[in-house]
Amino acid sequence: MADTSYDLVVIGGGPGGYVAAIRAAQLGLKACVVEREHLGGICLNWGCIPTKALLRSAEVGHLIQNAEAYGWSVGNVSFDLDKIVQRSRGVAKQLTQGVGFLLKKNKVPVIEGNGKLAGKGKVEVTDKDGKKTVLAAKNTLLATGARARVLPGLEPDGKLIWTYREAMVPESLPKSMLVVGSGAIGIEFASFYNDLGVDVTVVEVVDRILSAEDEEISALAHKAFVKAGIKIMTSAKVTGVKKATDSLTATIETADGKTQEMTVDRLISAVGIVGNVEDIGLEGTKVAVDRSHINTDPYGQTGEPGVWAIGDLTGPPWLAHKASHEGIIAVEKIAGVEGVHPLDTTGVPGCTYARPQVASVGFTEAQAKDAGHKVRVGRFPFVGNGKAIALGEPEGLVKTVFDDKTGELLGAHMIGAEVTELIQGFGIAKSLETTEQDLMHTVFPHPTLSEMMHESVLDAYDKAVHF
């Protein structure tokens, strides 16, 4: 019988859990990961990574279709949906195996099964055959993540009404599609299917898409998606669905109270997520749950001594990198590392990988004003950037928000080609607490898209050169 007592038992092998376990091993803690399905969690298997593979295929298609503009004659082009999906699955598989290797390298055992708290210092794991094992855990880290929220009337059926999961592995291409919800997930699928030629309509209940983003960026995104062929209905909601054999008719109520019906082949429900708080043994513990999310202190400690929680399970922003970072903070706190600070949520960047991409970090202009800042705002459009023109990507904007008094970079908001790769420059700037002066003095290489970041900062202080 193997030794089953651990300093740290991590329940959930997603980007929060496996990173936390590796950090624990680095700090000399005896740690294990309990995982019920796939290492890497939703992120690697059914989220971030496979969607990026799909979107890359869509982007390649877009380039081929516009090849003429770049001097290529490509004749008739076509795609094979199965191959696009297969490539995406292959990417996910490769990375899942990579996580297994990393855990092995750090001597972190993976225990397959459903983990749940089973009394003080104990975790019970039930494997797929129903066999139960009890682990002794000095500390338990709950990292069970989240799943798609279900709206009444829009219950996913795996056939006509999809979640991200079915949308990731379509067997055939629908002709038309309704995407309910315009957060990052909804918008990415809308963009993907639109690029494959599906007639896509997005329905959003609030008055703008990507509502977590800066209003100006939301508006530009709206324009860009409409131009790309996506229909968008804001301040609208789906009030009912009538299913047929291979299509459905949705009733959509708009802001003015009018309703209309729309018949589409498929509907994707992307209306947020709920935490996986069920069946993990919270009953009878002091772990507090608020609307499907576990309450913790800033370091991830729950109300129950020795029980910690991180990632999607603890609430928004629902992002893999936030989960990983929280995992590291919790583990370092458990290990007694000195100088551990809570996560600064204003430094967590968010990315949406549609075409065009959207990326941001920190306060939007409105949030900054609400927080009492007198702001200075800088803007620089892609059309003023040499590299953007050369790439054939002249549409987009880099917006920066500074505190007028201190020069603190409060937020940065971008839309356009490759902005998801650019945002981290501002992330570092925020983390190092640079002011506008440090950013102005930084040399940005020419010709790159990053020059727009520089110009946006300059513009905030009325010094922009190229626009």
Partner: protein
């Protein structure tokens, strides 16, 4: 800019240790993290790591030296682009007495104004006022906010990576009303490149948990946190020394009786009131003790603003009797009763306990014979007053030495050596003693 390498503390209680071995010699290039020396105490041996990269310019404490004080400068590191030959030890507590040694840098150090001008709202602002002679790692935003608010970065403890001072540290100092430039002096140990976090002791919760010790946890109040921070700051940054004298009180007690018989009903002058007045008069007699260290200058005050420690349920607070030298005993008495009452009720206004030029702590009423108090920066000194009690005294008369009985009180002056040298402090104590032993002089 050169960096002083300080004697590290292996434990919070360690005061000195032996420099067992140097692993580098002068002229060696070192990188951050390189082991450069070994330190030992009776309990442990520890490696000293370089916290910066550069060239070992000078080794100041030889291998095999025993009893090296914690935070003594043991070597000096020249940073890139600096001539190691021109480097000298900074002012960070060098073992050799080097009073007011100039900052080590060859670059002309711009002397900052003690009170930086309030920055214009949008104008680019220069960095915060630095404590001279010490590199303070800080974020650009922390420097900007500190500069705009007159906060001395060198007086803060950084909580960023490797002790870097970040925005939250400056905001915390602003919220607590500490770290004003020109007030607190340079902070050699904890802010810049101390090899270990000094004062970061073992975690008592952890130890209690390991040993199953039972305890009640009382969350620290704002006042308690301020006391903790200020006292650590004082003990870490202010070079204290102590002078004690015995003072005969019989004449004073006799005068007090007369005075109390003469003042209106309800007024009662205490010995403490007379000590406050005597201190204030002595501060005017010997103004060199009525002073503060401002990093690059000594500020000598015109008036004697005496802060008096008052114990409250929440901790210690020091209301200030301003211009005490020109107040009457009855005024001081009335003010003291009012301030102490409101201090205990937590109703003092900030201007009533901030500032002051000198402090007094009196534990005589608890039967304490004598003690040494911790200086309350930026004050240059604090007086610790013990109990007045009958003691045998030897008097020299024409008939020779004879034993007598007198009411004697021991008073200990803690001095900030950067401001108050030994002889200066001694002169003040003499003046204080003279005032108390010839109490009529106080009424003039």
């Amino acid at each position: 800019m050169s960096v002083d390498i300080l004697m590290p503390a292996l434990s919070p209680t360690m005061e000195e240790g032996n420099l067992a071995k140097w692993l580098v010699k002068e002229g060696d290039q070192v990188s951050s993290g390189d082991v450069i020396a070994e330190i030992e105490t009776d309990k442990a041996t520890m490696e000293v790591e370089a916290v910066d990269e550069g060239v070992i310019a000078k080794i100041l404490v030889a291998e095999g030296t025993e009893g090296v004080a914690v935070n003594a400068v043991i070597a000096v590191l020249a940073e890139e682009g600096e001539d190691p030959g021109s480097v000298q030890a900074g002012s960070g507590g060098a073992p050799a007495p080097a009073p007011a040694s100039a900052p080590a840098e060859s670059a002309p150090a711009p002397v900052p104004a003690p009170k930086p001008e309030k920055a214009q709202e949008t104008a680019p602002v220069s960095a915060a006022v630095p404590s001279p002679g010490k590199r303070v790692f800080s974020s650009p935003l922390a420097r900007r906010i500190a500069g705009q608010n007159g906060i001395d970065l060198g007086a803060l403890s950084g909580t960023g990576p490797n002790g870097r001072v970040v925005k939250r540290d400056v905001e915390a100092a602003m919220a607590a009303g500490t770290g004003k430039a020109g007030a607190a002096a340079a902070k050699p140990a904890a802010s810049g490149g101390a090899p270990m976090a000094i004062g970061a002791g073992p975690d008592p919760r952890k130890i209690a948990g390991q040993l199953d010790m039972v305890y009640e946890e009382i969350p620290a109040s704002g006042m308690r946190k301020t006391i903790a921070r200020r006292l650590v700051e004082a003990k870490q940054t202010v070079p204290h020394f102590y002078l004690t004298v015995d003072i005969e009180l019989d004449a004073l007690l006799a005068m007090r009786k007369q005075v109390n018989a003469a003042v209106p009903e309800g007024v009662k002058i205490s010995v403490n009131d007379m000590i406050i007045l005597a201190s204030a008069k002595a501060l005017i007699d010997e103004p060199d003790t009525n002073a503060s260290w401002a990093g690059d200058a000594i500020l000598k005050y015109q008036s004697a603003d005496v802060a008096v420690a008052v114990a409250t349920d929440g901790g210690l607070i020091t209301p200030v009797i301003r211009d005490a030298q020109s107040k009457s005993l009855s005024t001081i008495s009335a003010e003291m009763i009012d301030l102490a009452t409101r201090a205990r009720e937590g109703k003092l206004k900030p201007h009533e306990y901030q500032g002051g030029t000198f402090s007094i702590s009196n534990l005589g009423m608890f039967g304490v014979r004598e003690f040494a108090a911790v200086i309350n920066p930026p004050h240059g000194a604090i007086l610790a007053v013990g109990k007045g009690e009958k003691r045998p005294v030897v008097r020299t008369t024409d008939a020779g030495d004879e034993l007598g009985i007198a009411t004697v009180m021991s008073a200990t002056l803690s001095c900030d050596h950067r401001v108050v040298d030994g002889a200066v402090g001694a002169r003040w104590l003499n003046a204080f003693q003279k005032r108390l032993e010839n109490p009529l002089s106080m009424l003039l």
